[in-house]
């Protein structure tokens, strides 16, 4: 679960990481009021989870109330990168002397926490990582012993902070770890961490919470219940069913069981010249109810010309899958061609159910994928 900038900054503040003064606004009027409190110049920042917000016009400096009005109006009415804007953050503009980068995350290969820090922060950090990897220092923290003074010392030393700034940065480094642990985050990132005439300030926040930990974080799971978090209606539906769902820009809907098999299904469609409209993994052991919901979700999607269902019955039972397909097709008004591939556990029973409903199916996945492409573009 990704947190919005304002949510992350609230947590930063709680852990004594300094952030610019500012206020949250849900309307143009409110944005203007916050700007008057903050003073000019100020910055209006669209609260969206999508990356590259700045370059897409989601961050604007305002020198007057009119500037604020113009910026906020545009954001609220047009959205950013196709995502509607529901809130903007109005913050004081600060004089930036220098921008740093610092984050903590998990390095899955090393199986360790890792701090990343660089003297060269800002929007181009990824490019710096690619072209000058030595400009980014890494300090690993063994999860068995946790953060220790020497780790902090190494990071502070590497960025060359001295005196009061060293002290302030020391506190920020420790706070990142505390936040990581306290909130079961998989990433806590400050980019840029700006050196200003007021000392160090976190100008942006990026915080991702480990989804597997949400059960023990009611502060987030409650939010999720009432908040769509920039998700499309299909994504909200998928989330409610616990499907792993990602929208793509093609036109053949895809359902698989298991992430690997679903990805392979996308690849097969592409291999035979089709364009996947989505990734949808119904997971292991799905019952008819879930299969039906998944299929309806794709039938709802206007872009989808045909659906490819690829199921290998391991824990999942083919009869349940067949039943779900039949129910979805008979209940839902929108009719679209589907290509089903079904093998494994209770395969015969599943096949019988499909046949009785007049739905043909394949046992070979390549044949099924080819058929899906054919019915999507060539008609049957």
């Amino acid at each position: 679960m990704k947190l919005y900038e304002f949510e992350g900054k609230k947590i930063f503040s709680d852990f004594k990481i300094p952030v610019p003064r500012g206020g949250l606004a849900s309307s143009v009027e409110e944005a203007c009021l916050k700007a008057l409190e903050v003073g000019f110049p100020c910055v209006v920042k669209a609260q969206v989870l999508v990356g590259g917000r700045g370059k897409a016009g989601g961050i604007r400096v305002a020198k007057s109330i009119d500037d604020v009005k113009a910026a906020a109006s545009k954001m609220f009415s047009e959205g950013v990168k196709g995502v509607p804007v529901r809130k903007v953050l109005v913050e004081e503009a600060v004089n930036i002397v220098k921008e740093y980068y610092v984050s903590i995350t998990v390095d899955r290969s090393v199986k360790s926490y890792v701090y990343l820090a660089s003297l060269e922060g800002g929007v181009d950090i990824e490019e710096i990582a690619a072209t000058k990897p030595e400009a980014i220092i890494r300090v690993y923290v063994d999860p068995l012993i946790g953060l220790r003074d020497f780790h902090v010392r190494r990071i502070v030393d590497a960025l060359g902070f001295k005196g009061d700034l060293a002290k302030q940065f020391d506190g920020i480094v420790r706070a990142l770890y505390d936040i990581m642990i306290r909130y079961d985050a998989d990433l806590v990132e400050i980019n840029p961490l700006a050196l200003t005439d007021k000392g160090l300030l976190a100008l942006d926040s990026k915080l991702t919470i480990d989804d597997n930990s949400l059960y023990r974080h009611p502060e987030f799971s409650e939010t999720l219940k009432s908040d769509t978090r920039d998700l499309s209606p299909e994504e909200v539906l998928a989330r409610d069913y616990g499907f792993s769902y990602v929208k793509l820009d093609g036109d053949i809907g895809i359902i698989g069981n298991g992430a690997g098999l679903t990805m392979a299904s996308l690849d097969l469609i592409a291999h035979f010249g089709g364009k996947p409209a989505n990734f949808l993994d119904i997971g292991g052991g799905a019952r008819a109810e879930r299969v039906k919901a998944a299929l309806k979700l794709l039938l709802m999607d206007e872009r989808v010309k045909a659906v490819f269902i690829n199921v290998y019955g391991g824990i999942t039972r083919c009869d349940e899958v067949a039943r779900g397909i039949v129910e979805a097709l008979s209940e839902f008004e929108v009719k679209k061609p589907i290509s089903v591939r079904l093998v494994g556990n209770r395969e015969e029973e599943g096949g019988r159910i499909l046949k009785e409903a007049g739905i043909s199916y394949f046992t070979n996945d390549e044949d099924a994928a080819k058929h899906a492409v054919k019915i999507a573009y060539g008609g049957v």
């Binding site: 990433l187 990805m263 592409a270």
Partner: protein, 295 residues
């Protein structure tokens, strides 16, 4: 002898009274796995398919000192505790089926297990099967597997069954099939398992089923570069057209350094002599080409 599980495997089932635990206990028993005990706090004294249930692992081990392997079906919030309990009781091979374990818990657990010299397969994995010895410590469907000389290692579940079945039908049976699990942090990595296959006399060729994300495939390629291709390996990588998945801010990109994409993985494999199939079924053709011991 196959790897990780074999005819000497004596199994404990942790979380044996749950829906998954009890179902798969029966299935594993039928397949041929020797299961001596199960645990489920507060359910001590029961039995599941004839297997006695204990409250604690210590009690189970005291009564069944031959137990040397455990499989964990315990729900995510309690799964790490179960694994620590098994480690504490001296069990050296633990297969964790449970999915959804919090990342931080997983991280600490896997670090600890590694230092203690304990093999963890998973979490969030289908388990391990050695068809020649009829030993299955996992949840995979029996039909996909046949005895033979191929070692298969995979990050996925159903895709593994799919590929294994295709290979089985084509006459390429398996020594051992290992699903290392799909979580960001896993106990065994591709390198660990491939090394075991290299050292296993009953394995003559290896199939690696990878997917996008992380750098497990790239690291395997580096490993092969340093030790040599001691046995023929063929591979499949899922996700060539899939989205790059959950991006972890800039940090993810910095750590992965451009690794993680299907192209990066395919290039890494091909550079060390591991051909990569373009579809799951094409694995069979590659097997015919590379695994020359005949069928």
């Amino acid at each position: 002898m196959p790897i990780i599980v074999d005819r000497n495997t004596v199994l404990l089932v942790q979380g044996i009274t749950g829906r998954e635990g009890s179902y798969h206990t029966e299935v594993m028993l039928k397949y041929g796995t020797r299961i001596e005990a199960g645990t489920s706090p507060g359910k001590g004294g029961m039995n599941v398919s004839g297997v006695p249930v204990y409250n604690t692992v210590k009690e189970a081990i005291d009564k069944h000192p031959n137990i040397n392997t455990s499989i964990v079906f315990v729900p995510a919030p309690f799964a790490c505790d179960a694994v620590y309990e098994a480690i504490d009781a001296g069990i050296k091979r633990i297969v964790v089926i449970t999915e959804g374990i919090p990342l931080h818990d997983e991280l600490k657990l896997i670090s600890y297990a590694k230092l203690k010299g304990v093999i963890i397969v998973g979490p969030n994995c289908p388990g391990v099967i050695s068809p020649g010895e009829r030993v299955k410590v996992g949840i995979m469907p029996e039909r996909s597997f046949k005895p033979g000389y191929i070692g298969i290692v995979s990050r996925s579940g159903t895709l593994t069954y799919e590929i294994s079945e295709a290979l089985s039908l084509a006459g390429f049976g398996q020594s051992t099939v290992v699903g290392i699990g799909g979580d960001p942090i896993t106990g065994l990595d591709f390198i660990d398992v491939v090394e075991m296959f290299f050292n296993d006399v009953d394995t003559r060729g290896v199939v690696v089923v990878g997917e996008i994300g992380g750098d497990a495939e790239e690291r395997l390629a580096s490993y092969i570069k340093s030790v040599g291709l001691r046995k023929p390996i063929i591979a499949f990588i899922a996700g060539k057209t899939a989205p790059p998945g959950k991006r972890m801010g800039h940090a993810g990109a910095i750590i992965s350094m451009g690794m993680g994409s299907a192209e990066s993985k395919i290039k890494a494999f091909e550079s060390v002599g591991i051909p990569v199939a373009s579809t799951p079924m094409q694995i069979v053709e590659l097997a015919r080409l590379k695994f020359r011991w005949g069928v």
